[in-house]
Protein backbone atom coordinates (compact mmCIF):
# COMPACT_ATOMS: atom_id res chain seq x y z
CA UNK A 1 0.00 0.00 0.00
CA UNK A 2 1.29 3.41 -0.98
CA UNK A 3 2.17 5.44 2.12
CA UNK A 4 4.18 8.31 0.64
CA UNK A 5 2.04 9.76 -2.18
CA UNK A 6 3.59 13.24 -1.88
CA UNK A 7 7.22 12.19 -2.13
CA UNK A 8 7.20 8.87 -3.99
CA UNK A 9 8.91 10.48 -7.01
CA UNK A 10 11.43 12.44 -4.97
CA UNK A 11 14.90 10.93 -5.09
CA UNK A 12 18.02 11.79 -3.12
CA UNK A 13 19.58 13.74 -5.98
CA UNK A 14 18.41 17.25 -6.67
CA UNK A 15 16.69 16.60 -9.99
CA UNK A 16 13.01 16.91 -10.86
CA UNK A 17 10.88 13.94 -11.83
CA UNK A 18 10.36 14.52 -15.57
CA UNK A 19 7.27 13.39 -17.45
CA UNK A 20 8.75 10.00 -18.33
CA UNK A 21 9.58 9.15 -14.75
CA UNK A 22 6.29 10.63 -13.54
CA UNK A 23 4.23 8.55 -15.98
CA UNK A 24 6.21 5.39 -15.26
CA UNK A 25 5.18 5.76 -11.62
CA UNK A 26 1.41 5.92 -12.31
CA UNK A 27 1.49 9.65 -13.08
CA UNK A 28 -1.68 11.37 -14.32
CA UNK A 29 -3.82 8.33 -13.38
CA UNK A 30 -5.78 10.46 -10.91
CA UNK A 31 -6.46 13.04 -13.59
CA UNK A 32 -7.49 10.36 -16.08
CA UNK A 33 -9.95 8.92 -13.55
CA UNK A 34 -11.28 12.34 -12.50
CA UNK A 35 -11.91 13.24 -16.13
CA UNK A 36 -14.29 10.30 -16.38
CA UNK A 37 -16.21 11.43 -13.28
CA UNK A 38 -18.91 14.06 -12.86
CA UNK A 39 -17.37 17.24 -11.39
CA UNK A 40 -19.77 17.18 -8.43
CA UNK A 41 -18.63 13.66 -7.58
CA UNK A 42 -14.99 14.78 -7.49
CA UNK A 43 -15.89 17.57 -5.08
CA UNK A 44 -17.78 15.13 -2.86
CA UNK A 45 -14.89 12.68 -2.94
CA UNK A 46 -12.37 15.35 -1.91
CA UNK A 47 -14.72 16.59 0.80
CA UNK A 48 -15.29 13.14 2.25
CA UNK A 49 -11.64 12.25 1.92
CA UNK A 50 -11.10 14.81 4.67
CA UNK A 51 -8.27 16.72 3.00
CA UNK A 52 -7.67 19.97 4.87
CA UNK A 53 -5.83 22.99 3.42
CA UNK A 54 -2.08 22.55 3.84
CA UNK A 55 -1.30 26.27 3.61
CA UNK A 56 -2.03 26.62 7.29
CA UNK A 57 -5.73 27.35 7.76
CA UNK A 58 -6.77 23.68 7.58
CA UNK A 59 -10.12 24.29 5.91
CA UNK A 60 -11.76 21.26 4.24
CA UNK A 61 -10.64 21.48 0.62
CA UNK A 62 -13.70 19.84 -0.96
CA UNK A 63 -15.97 22.10 1.06
CA UNK A 64 -14.03 25.13 -0.22
CA UNK A 65 -14.55 23.96 -3.80
CA UNK A 66 -18.26 23.35 -3.20
CA UNK A 67 -18.85 27.09 -2.65
CA UNK A 68 -18.13 27.80 -6.32
CA UNK A 69 -21.43 28.52 -8.06
CA UNK A 70 -22.25 25.77 -10.54
CA UNK A 71 -24.91 24.96 -13.04
CA UNK A 72 -26.95 27.23 -15.24
CA UNK A 73 -26.71 30.93 -14.62
CA UNK A 74 -23.29 30.65 -12.97
CA UNK A 75 -20.42 32.58 -14.56
CA UNK A 76 -18.78 30.69 -17.44
CA UNK A 77 -15.24 31.82 -16.69
CA UNK A 78 -13.73 30.45 -13.50
CA UNK A 79 -10.16 30.23 -12.27
CA UNK A 80 -7.99 27.84 -10.32
CA UNK A 81 -5.02 29.42 -8.55
CA UNK A 82 -2.12 27.77 -6.78
CA UNK A 83 -0.71 29.69 -3.84
CA UNK A 84 3.02 29.03 -4.15
CA UNK A 85 4.04 32.20 -2.33
CA UNK A 86 5.75 30.23 0.42
CA UNK A 87 7.21 32.87 2.72
CA UNK A 88 6.08 31.96 6.22
CA UNK A 89 9.22 32.11 8.38
CA UNK A 90 10.48 28.59 8.96
CA UNK A 91 8.57 27.01 6.07
CA UNK A 92 10.27 25.08 3.26
CA UNK A 93 7.89 22.34 2.13
CA UNK A 94 6.37 23.76 -1.07
CA UNK A 95 9.81 24.49 -2.49
CA UNK A 96 10.62 20.79 -2.14
CA UNK A 97 7.41 19.65 -3.85
CA UNK A 98 7.69 22.08 -6.77
CA UNK A 99 11.40 21.60 -7.42
CA UNK A 100 11.29 17.82 -7.27
CA UNK A 101 7.89 16.71 -8.50
CA UNK A 102 6.28 19.54 -10.49
CA UNK A 103 3.88 17.24 -12.36
CA UNK A 104 2.18 16.20 -9.11
CA UNK A 105 1.16 19.82 -8.58
CA UNK A 106 -0.01 20.19 -12.19
CA UNK A 107 -2.06 17.01 -11.96
CA UNK A 108 -3.71 18.19 -8.74
CA UNK A 109 -4.48 21.57 -10.30
CA UNK A 110 -5.96 19.96 -13.41
CA UNK A 111 -8.33 17.82 -11.31
CA UNK A 112 -9.35 20.82 -9.20
CA UNK A 113 -9.87 23.00 -12.28
CA UNK A 114 -12.04 20.36 -13.91
CA UNK A 115 -14.07 19.89 -10.70
CA UNK A 116 -14.95 23.57 -10.39
CA UNK A 117 -15.17 24.20 -14.14
CA UNK A 118 -12.14 26.45 -14.53
CA UNK A 119 -10.40 26.71 -17.88
CA UNK A 120 -7.41 28.76 -16.75
CA UNK A 121 -5.05 28.19 -13.83
CA UNK A 122 -2.24 30.29 -12.41
CA UNK A 123 0.63 29.18 -10.22
CA UNK A 124 1.44 32.23 -8.13
CA UNK A 125 5.04 31.56 -7.14
CA UNK A 126 7.31 33.81 -5.12
CA UNK A 127 9.98 35.51 -7.22
CA UNK A 128 12.82 34.03 -5.21
CA UNK A 129 11.94 30.46 -6.22
CA UNK A 130 13.76 30.58 -9.55
CA UNK A 131 14.47 26.87 -9.85
CA UNK A 132 10.92 25.84 -8.92
CA UNK A 133 9.45 28.27 -11.45
CA UNK A 134 11.74 27.00 -14.23
CA UNK A 135 10.91 23.39 -13.49
CA UNK A 136 7.19 24.12 -13.40
CA UNK A 137 7.36 25.92 -16.74
CA UNK A 138 9.18 22.97 -18.22
CA UNK A 139 6.65 20.54 -16.71
CA UNK A 140 3.77 22.56 -18.17
CA UNK A 141 5.34 22.20 -21.62
CA UNK A 142 5.80 18.45 -21.09
CA UNK A 143 2.22 18.00 -19.85
CA UNK A 144 0.90 20.04 -22.76
CA UNK A 145 2.85 17.99 -25.30
CA UNK A 146 1.37 14.79 -23.86
CA UNK A 147 -2.15 16.21 -23.86
CA UNK A 148 -2.70 16.38 -20.08
CA UNK A 149 -3.31 20.11 -20.30
CA UNK A 150 -4.15 22.26 -23.30
CA UNK A 151 -7.05 21.90 -25.70
CA UNK A 152 -9.47 18.96 -25.70
CA UNK A 153 -7.80 16.97 -22.96
CA UNK A 154 -8.20 13.16 -23.33
CA UNK A 155 -9.97 13.94 -26.63
CA UNK A 156 -12.88 15.44 -24.72
CA UNK A 157 -14.42 18.87 -24.66
CA UNK A 158 -12.56 20.11 -21.65
CA UNK A 159 -9.58 22.45 -22.13
CA UNK A 160 -7.23 23.95 -19.56
CA UNK A 161 -4.28 26.31 -19.65
CA UNK A 162 -1.92 26.73 -16.69
CA UNK A 163 0.47 29.68 -16.41
CA UNK A 164 3.26 30.49 -13.96
CA UNK A 165 3.08 33.94 -12.39
CA UNK A 166 6.34 34.95 -10.75
CA UNK A 167 5.78 37.34 -7.90
CA UNK A 168 8.52 39.59 -6.57
CA UNK A 169 8.86 39.11 -2.85
CA UNK A 170 6.01 40.05 -0.56
CA UNK A 171 4.63 37.99 2.31
CA UNK A 172 1.08 39.33 2.18
CA UNK A 173 0.66 37.88 -1.33
CA UNK A 174 0.18 34.58 0.50
CA UNK A 175 -3.16 35.94 1.75
CA UNK A 176 -5.49 34.73 -0.96
CA UNK A 177 -7.31 37.98 -1.70
CA UNK A 178 -4.06 39.98 -1.71
CA UNK A 179 -2.71 37.33 -4.07
CA UNK A 180 -5.64 37.89 -6.42
CA UNK A 181 -5.04 41.64 -6.44
CA UNK A 182 -1.39 40.99 -7.27
CA UNK A 183 -2.38 38.62 -10.11
CA UNK A 184 -4.57 41.37 -11.52
CA UNK A 185 -1.54 43.64 -11.58
CA UNK A 186 -2.51 45.71 -8.56
CA UNK A 187 -0.80 46.49 -5.29
CA UNK A 188 -1.28 43.36 -3.20
CA UNK A 189 -3.63 44.61 -0.52
CA UNK A 190 -6.13 42.12 0.94
CA UNK A 191 -9.76 42.48 -0.07
CA UNK A 192 -12.76 42.65 2.22
CA UNK A 193 -14.53 39.30 2.66
CA UNK A 194 -17.29 38.54 1.77
CA UNK A 195 -17.52 38.13 -1.12
CA UNK A 196 -15.20 35.16 -0.90
CA UNK A 197 -13.02 34.32 -3.93
CA UNK A 198 -15.06 31.20 -4.66
CA UNK A 199 -17.89 33.56 -5.63
CA UNK A 200 -16.02 36.66 -6.76
CA UNK A 201 -12.27 36.21 -7.12
CA UNK A 202 -9.87 36.88 -9.95
CA UNK A 203 -11.28 39.64 -12.17
CA UNK A 204 -14.54 39.18 -10.26
CA UNK A 205 -14.93 35.57 -11.43
CA UNK A 206 -15.35 32.48 -9.21
CA UNK A 207 -11.87 31.40 -8.12
CA UNK A 208 -10.42 28.70 -5.90
CA UNK A 209 -7.03 29.34 -4.33
CA UNK A 210 -5.26 26.34 -2.79
CA UNK A 211 -1.78 25.79 -1.43
CA UNK A 212 0.85 23.76 -3.36
CA UNK A 213 0.79 20.83 -0.94
CA UNK A 214 -3.01 20.78 -0.92
CA UNK A 215 -3.06 20.29 -4.71
CA UNK A 216 -0.37 17.62 -4.42
CA UNK A 217 -2.72 15.55 -2.23
CA UNK A 218 -5.46 15.45 -4.86
CA UNK A 219 -4.15 13.04 -7.56
CA UNK A 220 -3.73 10.05 -5.25
CA UNK A 221 -6.85 10.82 -3.25
CA UNK A 222 -8.82 10.55 -6.50
CA UNK A 223 -6.88 7.59 -7.89
CA UNK A 224 -6.78 5.46 -4.75
CA UNK A 225 -9.95 6.57 -2.98
CA UNK A 226 -11.28 7.82 0.32
CA UNK A 227 -10.60 4.75 2.46
CA UNK A 228 -6.98 4.56 1.42
CA UNK A 229 -6.53 8.32 1.96
CA UNK A 230 -8.15 8.42 5.39
CA UNK A 231 -6.12 5.39 6.38
CA UNK A 232 -2.87 7.26 5.80
CA UNK A 233 -3.43 9.39 8.90
CA UNK A 234 -2.65 7.89 12.31
CA UNK A 235 -4.68 10.43 14.29
CA UNK A 236 -7.88 12.39 13.66
CA UNK A 237 -6.87 13.91 10.33
CA UNK A 238 -6.66 12.20 6.97
CA UNK A 239 -3.70 11.83 4.64
CA UNK A 240 0.01 12.37 4.93
CA UNK A 241 1.92 15.61 5.18
CA UNK A 242 5.33 17.12 4.67
CA UNK A 243 6.63 17.88 8.14
CA UNK A 244 9.91 19.67 8.63
CA UNK A 245 12.26 20.82 11.34
CA UNK A 246 14.74 23.71 11.36
CA UNK A 247 16.85 25.14 14.17
CA UNK A 248 19.68 23.58 16.13
CA UNK A 249 18.76 19.93 15.71
CA UNK A 250 21.17 17.25 14.49
CA UNK A 251 19.41 16.53 11.22
CA UNK A 252 17.21 19.40 10.01
CA UNK A 253 15.04 18.53 7.02
CA UNK A 254 11.59 17.67 5.68
CA UNK A 255 9.85 14.29 5.58
CA UNK A 256 6.51 12.95 4.46
CA UNK A 257 4.79 11.40 7.48
CA UNK A 258 1.26 10.42 8.44
CA UNK A 259 -1.01 13.17 9.69
CA UNK A 260 -1.14 12.75 13.45
CA UNK A 261 2.55 11.86 13.83
CA UNK A 262 3.72 13.02 17.23
CA UNK A 263 5.88 16.12 17.51
CA UNK A 264 8.37 14.11 19.56
CA UNK A 265 8.79 11.60 16.75
CA UNK A 266 9.32 14.38 14.21
CA UNK A 267 11.89 16.26 16.28
CA UNK A 268 13.69 13.40 18.04
CA UNK A 269 13.54 10.63 15.49
CA UNK A 270 13.49 12.29 12.09
CA UNK A 271 15.38 15.46 12.97
CA UNK A 272 17.76 13.51 15.24
CA UNK A 273 17.01 15.50 18.38
CA UNK A 274 18.85 18.55 19.68
CA UNK A 275 22.52 19.11 18.94
CA UNK A 276 24.85 18.02 21.72
CA UNK A 277 24.82 20.31 24.72
CA UNK A 278 21.50 21.94 23.87
CA UNK A 279 18.04 21.44 25.29
CA UNK A 280 14.74 22.15 23.59
CA UNK A 281 13.19 25.21 25.17
CA UNK A 282 10.24 25.74 22.83
CA UNK A 283 9.11 25.50 19.23
CA UNK A 284 6.84 27.06 16.66
CA UNK A 285 4.78 24.13 15.33
CA UNK A 286 4.00 25.53 11.90
CA UNK A 287 5.71 28.78 10.98
CA UNK A 288 6.31 32.24 12.38
CA UNK A 289 2.64 33.07 12.86
CA UNK A 290 1.88 30.14 15.15
CA UNK A 291 1.99 30.22 18.97
CA UNK A 292 5.04 28.80 20.73
CA UNK A 293 4.63 25.45 22.39
CA UNK A 294 6.99 23.95 24.96
CA UNK A 295 8.57 20.61 25.95
CA UNK A 296 5.30 19.62 27.63
CA UNK A 297 3.63 19.51 24.21
CA UNK A 298 6.09 17.12 22.55
CA UNK A 299 3.77 14.13 22.72
CA UNK A 300 0.91 15.85 20.92
CA UNK A 301 0.04 14.47 17.49
CA UNK A 302 0.28 16.85 14.54
CA UNK A 303 -3.46 17.12 13.92
CA UNK A 304 -5.14 20.46 13.24
CA UNK A 305 -7.61 20.35 16.11
CA UNK A 306 -5.22 18.88 18.67
CA UNK A 307 -2.62 21.59 18.11
CA UNK A 308 -5.46 24.12 18.11
CA UNK A 309 -6.68 22.93 21.50
CA UNK A 310 -3.14 23.16 22.86
CA UNK A 311 -3.29 26.89 22.11
CA UNK A 312 -1.41 27.04 18.84
CA UNK A 313 -1.95 26.09 15.19
CA UNK A 314 -0.46 23.37 13.05
CA UNK A 315 0.05 26.02 10.38
CA UNK A 316 2.40 24.80 7.67
CA UNK A 317 3.64 21.85 9.76
CA UNK A 318 7.26 22.92 9.49
CA UNK A 319 8.57 23.19 13.03
CA UNK A 320 11.09 25.82 14.14
CA UNK A 321 12.95 24.61 17.20
CA UNK A 322 14.32 27.02 19.78
CA UNK A 323 17.12 25.75 22.01
CA UNK A 324 18.00 26.87 25.54
CA UNK A 325 20.94 28.99 24.35
CA UNK A 326 18.77 31.09 22.02
CA UNK A 327 17.15 34.19 23.48
CA UNK A 328 13.34 33.98 23.27
CA UNK A 329 13.01 37.78 23.38
CA UNK A 330 15.45 38.09 20.48
CA UNK A 331 13.57 35.48 18.47
CA UNK A 332 10.20 37.13 19.09
CA UNK A 333 11.77 40.47 18.14
CA UNK A 334 13.07 38.93 14.91
CA UNK A 335 9.64 37.51 14.09
CA UNK A 336 7.86 40.79 14.83
CA UNK A 337 10.36 42.72 12.72
CA UNK A 338 9.43 40.42 9.86
CA UNK A 339 5.70 41.03 10.27
CA UNK A 340 6.17 44.78 10.70
CA UNK A 341 8.21 44.86 7.50
CA UNK A 342 5.70 42.76 5.58
CA UNK A 343 2.60 44.68 6.71
CA UNK A 344 0.92 46.04 3.59
CA UNK A 345 0.10 49.25 5.46
CA UNK A 346 -3.58 49.19 4.66
CA UNK A 347 -5.05 49.12 8.17
CA UNK A 348 -3.83 51.05 11.17
CA UNK A 349 -3.49 48.38 13.89
CA UNK A 350 -1.08 46.43 11.68
CA UNK A 351 0.77 49.31 10.01
CA UNK A 352 1.33 51.33 13.20
CA UNK A 353 0.85 48.65 15.84
CA UNK A 354 3.55 46.24 14.71
CA UNK A 355 6.39 48.82 14.61
CA UNK A 356 5.31 49.89 18.10
CA UNK A 357 5.57 46.29 19.32
CA UNK A 358 9.03 46.06 17.68
CA UNK A 359 10.09 49.17 19.59
CA UNK A 360 8.99 47.73 22.92
CA UNK A 361 10.59 44.33 22.24
CA UNK A 362 13.79 46.03 21.07
CA UNK A 363 14.12 48.01 24.28
CA UNK A 364 13.55 44.91 26.39
CA UNK A 365 16.18 43.04 24.37
CA UNK A 366 18.56 46.00 24.78
CA UNK A 367 18.11 45.84 28.54
CA UNK A 368 16.14 49.07 28.63
CA UNK A 369 12.73 47.52 29.23
CA UNK A 370 10.32 48.88 31.81
CA UNK A 371 8.45 46.74 34.34
CA UNK A 372 5.14 47.75 32.76
CA UNK A 373 6.27 46.67 29.27
CA UNK A 374 4.93 43.13 29.60
CA UNK A 375 1.46 44.46 30.27
CA UNK A 376 1.88 46.86 27.37
CA UNK A 377 2.85 44.00 25.04
CA UNK A 378 -0.19 42.05 26.18
CA UNK A 379 -2.42 45.01 25.43
CA UNK A 380 -0.80 45.54 22.04
CA UNK A 381 -1.43 41.89 21.15
CA UNK A 382 -5.10 42.37 21.91
CA UNK A 383 -5.26 45.51 19.81
CA UNK A 384 -3.81 43.80 16.75
CA UNK A 385 -5.66 40.56 17.41
CA UNK A 386 -8.52 38.81 15.60
CA UNK A 387 -11.36 41.08 14.55
CA UNK A 388 -9.33 44.28 14.84
CA UNK A 389 -7.60 44.14 11.47
CA UNK A 390 -8.39 43.77 7.78
CA UNK A 391 -6.62 40.41 7.34
CA UNK A 392 -4.85 37.75 9.38
CA UNK A 393 -1.30 39.17 9.21
CA UNK A 394 -1.30 41.13 12.48
CA UNK A 395 -3.31 38.54 14.45
CA UNK A 396 -0.78 35.99 13.19
CA UNK A 397 2.07 38.22 14.33
CA UNK A 398 0.49 38.39 17.80
CA UNK A 399 0.52 34.60 18.21
CA UNK A 400 4.24 34.07 18.90
CA UNK A 401 4.36 37.21 21.04
CA UNK A 402 1.51 36.38 23.39
CA UNK A 403 2.55 32.74 23.71
CA UNK A 404 6.17 33.75 24.41
CA UNK A 405 4.95 36.10 27.13
CA UNK A 406 3.32 33.12 28.82
CA UNK A 407 5.93 30.40 28.17
CA UNK A 408 9.06 32.51 28.55
CA UNK A 409 7.85 35.16 31.00
CA UNK A 410 10.88 34.60 33.17
CA UNK A 411 13.20 35.49 30.27
CA UNK A 412 11.35 38.74 29.63
CA UNK A 413 11.50 39.63 33.33
CA UNK A 414 15.21 38.75 33.50
CA UNK A 415 15.98 41.13 30.64
CA UNK A 416 14.19 43.93 32.45
CA UNK A 417 15.60 43.17 35.89
CA UNK A 418 19.21 42.64 34.81
CA UNK A 419 19.19 45.48 32.31
CA UNK A 420 20.73 43.34 29.58
CA UNK A 421 20.14 40.27 27.45
CA UNK A 422 21.27 37.34 29.63
CA UNK A 423 21.94 35.26 26.50
CA UNK A 424 24.66 37.56 25.18
Amino acid sequence: MLTNPLTKNITKDNIAADITRYLANDGYQGWRKAHSMAPDDIITLVKEGGLRGRGGAGFNTGLKWSFVPRGEGSPKQKFIVCNADEMEPGTFKDRLLMERDPHLLLEGMAIAAYAIGASVGYIFIRGEYHLAAERLELAIEEARSRGFIGNNIFNGEYSLEIFVHRSAGNYICGEETALLNALEGRRAIPRAKPPFPQVSGLWGKPTVVNNVETFCNIPHLVALGIDWYRGLGVGQDAGSKIFGVSGKVKNPGAWELPMGTSIREIIEQHAGGMRDGLRLKGFLPGGGSTDFLGPDHLDLPMDYDVIGKAGSRMGTGTITVMDDKTCPVGLVLNLTQFFARESCGWCTPCRDGLPWVVKVLQRIENGEGLPEDLELLQEQCERIGPGKTFCALAPGAAEPIQSALKLFERDFLDHIKKGCCPYK
Partner: protein
Protein backbone atom coordinates in the same frame (compact mmCIF):
# COMPACT_ATOMS: atom_id res chain seq x y z
CA UNK B 1 0.92 76.39 -3.85
CA UNK B 2 4.61 76.73 -4.62
CA UNK B 3 4.85 79.62 -2.19
CA UNK B 4 4.43 77.08 0.61
CA UNK B 5 7.75 75.47 -0.29
CA UNK B 6 11.10 76.76 0.81
CA UNK B 7 13.47 77.48 -2.09
CA UNK B 8 15.82 74.74 -0.90
CA UNK B 9 13.01 72.23 -1.05
CA UNK B 10 12.23 73.22 -4.60
CA UNK B 11 15.87 72.84 -5.49
CA UNK B 12 15.93 69.34 -3.99
CA UNK B 13 12.82 68.37 -5.90
CA UNK B 14 14.24 69.66 -9.16
CA UNK B 15 17.47 67.82 -8.60
CA UNK B 16 15.70 64.55 -7.87
CA UNK B 17 13.63 64.97 -11.01
CA UNK B 18 16.73 64.86 -13.15
CA UNK B 19 16.69 61.27 -14.08
CA UNK B 20 20.18 59.76 -14.11
CA UNK B 21 18.85 56.97 -16.30
CA UNK B 22 20.79 56.43 -19.48
CA UNK B 23 17.72 54.96 -21.15
CA UNK B 24 15.11 56.98 -22.92
CA UNK B 25 11.49 57.05 -21.91
CA UNK B 26 10.47 54.46 -24.47
CA UNK B 27 10.56 50.69 -24.40
CA UNK B 28 12.69 48.71 -26.81
CA UNK B 29 11.07 46.36 -29.30
CA UNK B 30 12.43 43.40 -27.40
CA UNK B 31 10.97 44.64 -24.12
CA UNK B 32 7.60 45.20 -25.79
CA UNK B 33 7.66 41.74 -27.34
CA UNK B 34 8.40 40.10 -23.98
CA UNK B 35 5.66 42.10 -22.28
CA UNK B 36 3.16 41.16 -24.98
CA UNK B 37 4.06 37.51 -24.50
CA UNK B 38 3.18 37.73 -20.80
CA UNK B 39 0.05 39.79 -21.48
CA UNK B 40 -1.35 36.92 -23.57
CA UNK B 41 -1.67 34.92 -20.31
CA UNK B 42 -3.86 37.50 -18.60
CA UNK B 43 -7.01 39.51 -19.13
CA UNK B 44 -5.37 42.36 -20.93
CA UNK B 45 -2.22 44.39 -20.72
CA UNK B 46 -3.24 46.27 -17.60
CA UNK B 47 -2.66 43.12 -15.52
CA UNK B 48 1.02 42.67 -16.32
CA UNK B 49 2.47 45.63 -14.44
CA UNK B 50 4.77 43.45 -12.35
CA UNK B 51 5.84 41.30 -15.31
CA UNK B 52 6.63 44.43 -17.31
CA UNK B 53 8.63 45.89 -14.43
CA UNK B 54 10.61 42.68 -14.13
CA UNK B 55 11.28 42.48 -17.87
CA UNK B 56 12.46 46.08 -18.09
CA UNK B 57 14.56 45.67 -14.95
CA UNK B 58 16.18 42.59 -16.47
CA UNK B 59 17.38 44.71 -19.39
CA UNK B 60 18.19 47.95 -17.55
CA UNK B 61 19.20 46.82 -14.07
CA UNK B 62 16.63 48.97 -12.27
CA UNK B 63 13.44 50.96 -12.81
CA UNK B 64 14.07 54.67 -13.28
CA UNK B 65 11.33 57.30 -13.36
CA UNK B 66 11.44 57.42 -17.15
CA UNK B 67 11.33 53.62 -17.43
CA UNK B 68 8.32 53.62 -15.08
CA UNK B 69 6.58 56.22 -17.22
CA UNK B 70 7.36 54.31 -20.40
CA UNK B 71 5.89 51.07 -19.00
CA UNK B 72 2.77 52.86 -17.73
CA UNK B 73 2.28 54.44 -21.15
CA UNK B 74 2.68 51.10 -22.89
CA UNK B 75 0.26 49.28 -20.55
CA UNK B 76 -2.14 52.24 -20.62
CA UNK B 77 -2.37 52.40 -16.85
CA UNK B 78 -1.83 55.40 -14.54
CA UNK B 79 1.83 55.79 -13.60
CA UNK B 80 0.78 56.10 -9.94
CA UNK B 81 -0.81 52.65 -10.09
CA UNK B 82 2.38 51.17 -11.51
CA UNK B 83 4.49 53.00 -8.92
CA UNK B 84 2.24 51.42 -6.28
CA UNK B 85 3.20 48.01 -7.63
CA UNK B 86 6.88 48.84 -8.17
CA UNK B 87 7.42 50.05 -4.63
CA UNK B 88 5.53 47.11 -3.14
CA UNK B 89 7.88 44.31 -4.11
CA UNK B 90 11.37 43.78 -2.80
CA UNK B 91 12.69 42.35 -6.08
CA UNK B 92 11.89 45.54 -8.04
CA UNK B 93 14.51 48.28 -7.70
CA UNK B 94 13.55 51.92 -7.94
CA UNK B 95 17.16 52.98 -7.60
CA UNK B 96 20.37 51.59 -9.09
CA UNK B 97 21.88 48.54 -7.43
CA UNK B 98 25.20 46.73 -7.71
CA UNK B 99 25.91 44.06 -10.31
CA UNK B 100 25.40 41.38 -7.65
CA UNK B 101 22.58 41.74 -5.13
CA UNK B 102 23.09 39.70 -1.99
CA UNK B 103 19.80 38.75 -0.34
CA UNK B 104 20.71 37.65 3.15
CA UNK B 105 17.88 35.77 4.86
CA UNK B 106 17.07 37.33 8.23
CA UNK B 107 14.06 35.25 9.25
CA UNK B 108 13.57 33.05 12.30
CA UNK B 109 15.52 29.90 11.43
CA UNK B 110 18.44 31.80 9.91
CA UNK B 111 18.44 34.10 12.93
CA UNK B 112 18.68 31.13 15.28
CA UNK B 113 21.55 29.81 13.16
CA UNK B 114 23.47 33.08 13.32
CA UNK B 115 22.60 35.29 10.33
CA UNK B 116 23.23 38.45 12.37
CA UNK B 117 26.88 37.51 12.68
CA UNK B 118 27.07 36.82 8.94
CA UNK B 119 25.52 40.19 8.19
CA UNK B 120 28.17 41.92 10.31
CA UNK B 121 30.85 39.95 8.52
CA UNK B 122 29.57 40.92 5.06
CA UNK B 123 29.16 44.54 6.13
CA UNK B 124 32.69 44.67 7.45
CA UNK B 125 34.18 43.00 4.42
CA UNK B 126 32.38 45.09 1.84
CA UNK B 127 32.16 48.24 3.97
CA UNK B 128 28.43 48.52 3.44
CA UNK B 129 25.36 48.36 5.61
CA UNK B 130 22.20 46.55 4.45
CA UNK B 131 20.61 48.63 1.69
CA UNK B 132 23.95 49.97 0.43
CA UNK B 133 26.18 49.24 -2.56
CA UNK B 134 29.92 48.66 -2.30
CA UNK B 135 32.27 51.39 -3.55
CA UNK B 136 33.34 49.30 -6.55
CA UNK B 137 29.68 49.04 -7.59
CA UNK B 138 29.71 45.25 -7.54
CA UNK B 139 27.74 44.29 -4.43
CA UNK B 140 24.47 45.46 -2.93
CA UNK B 141 23.50 43.93 0.41
CA UNK B 142 19.81 43.47 1.18
CA UNK B 143 18.15 41.69 4.07
CA UNK B 144 15.29 39.49 2.99
CA UNK B 145 12.39 37.74 4.67
CA UNK B 146 12.42 33.93 4.82
CA UNK B 147 13.89 32.33 1.66
CA UNK B 148 12.25 28.97 2.39
CA UNK B 149 15.43 26.93 2.83
CA UNK B 150 15.29 26.81 6.61
CA UNK B 151 16.73 23.33 7.09
CA UNK B 152 19.94 24.60 5.46
CA UNK B 153 20.15 27.85 7.42
CA UNK B 154 21.81 30.25 7.33
CA UNK B 155 21.24 30.96 3.64
CA UNK B 156 21.48 33.75 1.11
CA UNK B 157 20.40 34.23 -2.49
CA UNK B 158 22.62 35.81 -5.12
CA UNK B 159 21.28 36.03 -8.68
CA UNK B 160 19.23 32.87 -9.25
CA UNK B 161 21.39 30.81 -6.90
CA UNK B 162 20.90 29.81 -3.27
CA UNK B 163 23.95 29.52 -1.00
CA UNK B 164 23.28 27.26 1.99
CA UNK B 165 24.73 26.22 5.35
CA UNK B 166 26.84 29.36 5.30
CA UNK B 167 29.71 30.40 7.50
CA UNK B 168 32.14 33.28 7.26
CA UNK B 169 34.65 31.41 5.11
CA UNK B 170 31.94 30.36 2.63
CA UNK B 171 30.92 34.01 2.36
CA UNK B 172 34.53 35.11 1.83
CA UNK B 173 34.92 32.56 -0.94
CA UNK B 174 31.70 33.66 -2.63
CA UNK B 175 32.66 37.33 -2.53
CA UNK B 176 36.12 36.59 -3.93
CA UNK B 177 34.65 34.47 -6.70
CA UNK B 178 32.21 37.17 -7.76
CA UNK B 179 34.89 39.86 -7.57
CA UNK B 180 37.05 37.77 -9.86
CA UNK B 181 34.19 37.31 -12.34
CA UNK B 182 33.74 41.05 -12.61
CA UNK B 183 37.47 41.76 -12.72
CA UNK B 184 37.77 39.35 -15.67
CA UNK B 185 34.82 40.98 -17.39
CA UNK B 186 36.22 44.48 -17.10
CA UNK B 187 39.68 43.43 -18.29
CA UNK B 188 38.29 42.09 -21.56
Amino acid sequence: MSSLLEPEAIEVMERSNKDPDQFSGTLTDEEKREIDEEAAHYEGKSSVGLEALRIVQKHRGWISDSSLQAIANYLEIPVAQLEGVATYFQLIFRQPVGKEVIYLCKSASCWIMGCDQLQKHISQRLQIEPGQTSADGIFTLLETPCLGDCDKAPVLMLGDEMYRNLDESAIDALIEKKKQVHADKSSH
